[in-house]
């Protein structure tokens, strides 16, 4: 899914794949280990439960603000940002 020699698009795709992998980790990866994580406590919560109830959600929100900021930086760098 690459355009040969198109730097803007390869940087954009790179950011997309980074976010996609993080999404996989926080949607599925962490929760594969719920039983192991539940042996630990955080604020009184079993950690496996906490990750599904709050931890992953916080990660998603932070990821989206970081994504909007990074993609905007790429747009400006490569001269394809919209006019203000």
């Amino acid at each position: 899914m690459q355009d040969g020699g198109d730097r803007y698009w390869s940087r954009t795709s790179g950011l997309m794949w980074t976010m996609f992998v993080l999404w996989l980790i926080f949607s599925f990866g962490v929760h594969f280990f719920v039983k192991e994580l539940n042996q630990f406590q955080f604020l009184g919560f079993p950690v496996g439960f906490y990750m599904a109830a709050q931890g992953s959600l916080v990660a998603f929100v932070v990821m989206l603000f970081v994504f909007a900021w990074r993609q905007d930086a790429i747009d400006r760098d490569e001269g394809v940002a919209e006019d203000e």
Binding site: M1, D3, Y8, W9, T12, S13, L15, M16, M19, F20, W23, F26, S27, F28, H31, V34, K35, N38, F42, L43, G44, F45, P46, G48, F49, Y50, A52, A53, Q54, S56, L57, V58, F60, V61, M63, L64, F65, F67, A68, Q71, D72, D75, G79, V80, A81, E82, D83
Partner: protein, 665 residues
């Protein structure tokens, strides 16, 4: 009003948004305080309830009427002037339905850890929206999601398929919202259910008919504020009362520890059985790991495919703001979803405390009967309508100790949020506030869905496929007629209390995921995807998803005989949940359109996958079909490659201006 004055007027409105909505929020708090004082002065509860419901609906209606418009751009995409922050709030209200507000905490109450699949699934999907879809759709500049299918995949057949998927996943959904308004108005105003449904219908139409997307946007922002305040206030009070800190999201760790202790205590006291009690934090006792993760996937991908959500990102002023706006959307949604598990824990703690202290059946609190009369609370197998009924029913059980026992108490998921203020003994004004919040959630989602359906019918079917020369005025009249017709049809369907339709809402996510997601994502990210590939992929993905849903639910015998389906598994023991051989030998085995009482209905499938997660099969099938068929047929034209390049770059304004063909094929 002249065109310029109108534009100036709304420009003024947009630049004053902060002030306007701050005053509105302050006014809402003031209103709640006034009603609280009136309650203390002895005004009967039912008037407090009417005050909440009618005043909030009146405010939404005023916003809807002030936002009336005669311009297509305003009607379909709110003039593309909605700032990221406010579009985030509007999306929050658009997204969080009656089910999120009323049912989610209840599902978590009943399912414990496994219910968190809904919390994860309904939030994480926004990551996909932001990184794969929304900025590109915004750049393209469509009025509707099917617009993109037509331009990218060449012609009206892909558009038509997208409209079919859109209607399939949105209509059942909107029916459930109107049903929700009926349920809430019935409970809090004592209205007849059918009357309540039509009152809800009027509320919905007042918000959307005159101003389309513009009106829906600004009412949704107002509705978000009401619904989030209403959701947070009761549980913040509970947290402060119980643990001295008004941050339920932090203190419910302690509540969960207390629940675990009570679970063991109830078993020791003989007030709960090990079989009936599913520990709150234990994973995979209601869903197998496969079903848990499949559900998360289907809900997430479904979120990223539902047209009423995607179309909200058409309204931002720029591609940059579309991205920021997805982040704000998730933030505002997160505020409710990370509170829902706290809600569930606090109300579970109250209920378990009630059982563990050995409450006599003759001393049950009144909320049990309030909700028992609505059929939402059962004790000893029957609706808990009154003390006499409960005592009689439990008396029929041998050796019953006359105490409330865990295994005999049934609480419907919908009762949890609505009843928590009463369970916790809070004043009625809080219950009224919760009712107003639930109504706001249902009305705002219904508006978004209705608009998505009516716009698809008026813009995609009527304007783009039937009468391409229709003047703006006629297009907008047609839009409003469709809005009215669809709304009345949904309200009528809801008024018949269709159990089947309500159960189908959960299907919407898999259907949207299977029908829309592969074509949408490949359309942006893979230039080689072409029209025939898209058509084949949508038909295969959507068709397979629908087949799995309908066969496993309504024609299970056919599924077993012809499609190789077998029994689903018990998540704890791994044993089949139904004896298929025995059920297939019964005379009703090959019946069609069976009710849920049929021994095989929704109990068979492939690899033990619940039908709610049917996109698990349909998604890969859809992707694969698009890729294979595209590679076997002609590559798209150079013009189309250029179009995709333009979609991918934010600079340069929207590509599909109204009245112009998007691209020449």
């Amino acid at each position: 009003m002249s065109e310029t004055a109108k534009a100036a007027g709304s420009g003024d409105f947009v630049s004053n948004l902060g002030r306007i909505y701050s005053i509105y929020t302050g006014g809402f708090f003031g209103f709640v305080i006034v009603l609280a004082i009136l309650e203390q002065m002895g005004v009967p509860n039912v008037y407090i309830g009417y005050g909440f419901v009618f005043l909030t609906i009146a405010v939404y209606a005023v916003i809807g009427i002030l936002s009336r418009t005669g311009e297509a751009g305003e009607y379909y995409v709110a003039g593309r002037r909605v700032p990221a922050f406010y579009n985030g709030m509007a999306t929050g209200a658009d997204w969080m339905s009656a089910a999120s507000f009323v049912g989610m905490a209840g599902s978590l109450f009943l399912l414990g850890y496994d219910g968190l699949a809904f919390v994860l699934g309904w939030t994480g999907g926004y990551v996909l929206v932001a990184i794969l879809i929304a900025p590109f759709l915004r750049k393209f500049g469509a009025y509707t999601v099917p617009d993109f299918f037509a331009a990218r995949f060449g012609g009206n057949f892909p558009r038509f398929l997208a409209v079919i998927v859109l209607i399939a996943c949105s209509f059942t959904y909107v029916t459930a919202q109107i049903f929700g308004t009926g349920l809430i108005a019935q409970r809090f105003l004592g209205m007849d259910f059918t009357v309540a449904v039509y009152v809800g219908l009027i509320g919905i139409l007042l918000c959307s008919m005159l101003g389309g997307m513009k009106a829906v946007t600004w009412t949704q922002v107002a509705q978000y504020i009401v619904l989030i305040v209403a959701y947070l206030v009761p549980v913040v009070i509970l947290s402060a009362k119980k643990y001295g800190i008004p941050l339920p999201q932090l203190t419910y760790g302690q509540a969960i520890a207390d629940i675990t202790a009570l679970e063991q205590q109830m078993v020791r006291q003989g007030l709960a059985t090990v079989a009936s009690l599913k520990p709150h934090t234990a994973p995979f006792v209601n869903y197998s790991p496969l079903n848990y993760f499949a559900l998360i996937l289907c809900l997430m991908v479904g979120t990223a495919s539902l047209p009423h959500v995607l179309m909200r990102y058409f309204t931002t002023p720029s591609v940059r703001e579309a991205r920021q706006s997805v982040a704000w959307s998730l933030f505002f949604i997160f505020l409710l979803y990370f509170t829902a598990p706290a809600y569930a824990a606090f109300s579970k703690l109250e209920v378990y405390s009630l059982i563990a202290k050995g409450t006599k059946l003759t001393d049950l609190p009144t909320w049990i009967f309030t909700y028992g009369k609505l059929g939402l609370v059962t004790i000893c197998g029957k609706a808990a309508e009154s003390v006499q009924v409960v005592v009689a029913n439990c008396g029929a059980i041998a050796n019953h100790p006359g105490l409330l026992r865990h295994q005999e108490l049934g609480i419907n998921a919908d009762a949890i949020v609505l009843s928590t203020p009463e369970i916790a003994g809070l004043p009625y004004v809080i219950a009224g506030l919760v009712a107003a919040g639930g109504l706001a959630a249902a009305l705002s989602t219904a508006d978004g869905l209705l608009l998505a359906i009516a716009n698809a019918l008026s813009h995609d079917i009527y304007y783009k496929m039937i009468d391409t020369k229709a003047p703006t005025q006629r297009r907008l009249i047609v839009s409003r007629v469709f809005l009215l017709v669809v709304a009345v049809a949904a309200a009528y369907t809801a008024s018949t209390r269709p159990a089947d339709i309500l159960a189908m809402v959960a299907w919407a996510f898999s259907l949207a995921a299977a029908g829309i997601f592969p074509a949408l994502v490949l359309g942006v990210w893979w230039k080689r995807a072409n029209g025939p590939g898209c058509i084949a992929g949508m038909i295969v993905g959507f068709g397979l998803c629908l087949l799995y849903l309908v066969v496993s639910r309504y024609f299970p015998g056919y599924g077993v005989t012809y499609l190789g389906m077998s029994a689903l598994f018990n998540p704890v023991t791994g044993a089949p949940i139904v004896d298929v051989a025995k059920a297939m030998a019964a005379p009703n085995a090959m019946d069609g359109w069976v009710t849920l009482a049929h021994p095989l209905a929704s109990k068979v499938g492939w690899f033990g996958v619940n039908n709610i997660s049917s996109a698990l099969f349909a998604l890969p099938a859809g992707f694969l079909t698009i890729i294979v068929v595209s590679l076997m047929t002609r590559r798209p034209s150079q013009e189309l490659y250029d179009l995709i390049d333009q979609i991918r770059r934010p600079r340069g304004g929207v590509m599909m201006e109204d009245k112009d063909a998007a691209v020449v094929h």
